[in-house]
Amino acid sequence: MNTKFAPRYYTLALFILLCSIPWLLTDQGYAIRVLTLLLLFAAMAQSWNIVGGLANQISLGHAAFFGIGAYTSTILLIRFGLSPWFGILVAMLLAGLTGGLLSLPTMRLRGHYFALATLAFGEVMRAIANTWSSVTGGPVGISVPFSPNAGLEMMQFKSTIPYYFIMLGALTITSSIFWKISHSKLGYELRAVKANVDSAEVIGIDTTRTKIIAAVISAALMGACGVLYAQFNFFFDPDSAFSLVGISIRVALICIIGGIGTVFGPLIGACFLLPLEEIFNAFLSGKGAGYSQLAYGVILIIIILLEPRGLTTLFKQAVQRIKP
């Protein structure tokens, strides 16, 4: 089979499928809201994938960029009436800048240390958001002002369907960027740096610059997702926007479960994890707080013990076992 051909067709079919789903569901209903969020989280996981999958740096602090994005555009909207479409640009700039700055001191850190540093950073951003009430509104959170006549220009819709397509667009864009990078010079450089930093340096790769670029792109995209979330949810607070478990870990997990470093991994992971969470929420929330999260933690442990490289690998292995 000519492998270069088939994936393109599958991808197109998938895209068409995803485009047609909303019309089959009740607008503003539960299902389409979940799917919309699913697409957004897949896009977030894809942003994370650029650093986690290509450079193999496990960041546990991506919520920092998400939150920066959400707060930036919302504050600009509230204070200056700036449309979120422009807000996204500013948010990406700020988030990207932050990502680049953070990558400097964490440059030489490997594995656990990098995870630690990024985790701490995310927590610090949360603390800042909680304290800097004058700007962020503090622990109470911030609401996106609802204007009844707003539409496309303000990225506010009554129907869920436009949001669905915006999130689909986000996933498509982040995935295209991921794809483009992995097949470009930068992709080779990242893989080289991931495999052996010294070796990469010796053959002429500016490993520092490579890492910074990947970090900036990943952070900027994550920031954009933060904006989209704000516009969709109309409300967020520091503990949700900068959430360690709800955003940072979740996004990394989605990517890892689906298949870290692969372009479809984020979507697969999101399709697995988010409905699962919803099921747990539905059955267990009644019993009180903590059950669904507990199930989440247990599933995580089980998956790690079964196959650390994710569902894509599990799937590939299963397929290989079926083949004669």
Partner: protein, 250 residues
């Protein structure tokens, strides 16, 4: 500047590197002519690899300078030095295990070319070292000699002026070794590349190199033609107590 000096492509002045209280490389003054085939030998732990690391910027010198084609390169990062034309191979071979042979080699070409151009360059390099048939194999699946050759191909892709080979012939048999020796000589003759070669195979060094520098405990203890080195009593005594006997030096 004398004629000899104007021919130098690489030289060092008082190059030293200390680790704690230990002098790994001490006050080395090296001078390499353009197009030379220089051998670097010495007992294990003499500091040969450290010297290479100092030359290409993986290790910072404690004191002293390195010059490449007249430019001071000591203190520069390895990727900058690579850009200026010097590269080394690693003693234990440092390929990117999850990438294919071709991908490994073309990554070396990305320095000055696009992915497509680098791919062409890579295939050419692989052909030169005789590894083109296994271009699609995963690097982790290669034998050690294959890996060494692929690493050389990758180094060649960076279009170097000076190549530092660190025990590239370690796991080779006689035929393979002859092939590599011819390869190195050919590259020097056709493309004017300068080689500094660390080797323990005395036969290879004696056959290949026009000049040899002997390192012991980080210091240069002798320099000269293979013949001179083979008869140098200090060199012989530096090697006594290791596996190499005086007889093997001829």
């Amino acid at each position: 500047m004398t004629n000899k000096e104007s021919n130098r492509i690489l030289w060092t002045q008082g190059l030293s590197r200390n680790f704690g209280g230990l002098s790994a490389v001490g006050n080395v003054n090296l001078s390499v002519k353009s197009g030379e085939l220089l051998g670097l030998i010495g007992p294990n732990g003499a500091g040969k690899t450290t010297l290479f690391n100092l030359l290409i910027g993986l290790t910072k010198p404690s004191s002293g300078e390195v010059y490449l084609e007249g430019e001071k390169i000591s203190g520069l990062k390895p990727h900058q030095i690579c850009r200026l034309g010097m590269i080394k191979t690693f003693q234990n071979v440092a390929l990117f295990p999850e990438m294919s042979v071709l991908e490994n080699v073309l990554t070396g070409g990305l320095l000055r070319a696009s992915v497509d151009e680098a791919t062409v360059l890579a295939k050419d390099s692989l052909r030169k070292v005789g590894m083109l048939e296994i271009a699609n194999k995963k690097a982790a699946d290669l034998t050690f000699p294959e890996k060494a050759l692929v690493e050389m191909a990758r180094a060649l892709c960076t279009k170097p002026r000076v190549v530092l080979l660190d025990e590239v012939m370690a796991a080779l048999n006689e035929t393979e070794m002859d092939h590599v020796l011819d390869l190195i000589k050919g590259l020097r003759d056709q493309e004017g590349i300068t080689f500094i070669v660390i080797e323990h195979h005395m036969r290879a060094i004696m056959n290949l190199c026009e000049r040899i520098v002997v390192l012991s405990f980080g210091q240069v203890i002798a320099e000269g033609t293979p013949l001179e080195i083979g008869m140098n009593p200090e060199v012989i005594s530096a090697y006594l107590g290791t596996d190499t006997t005086a007889g093997e030096l001829h």
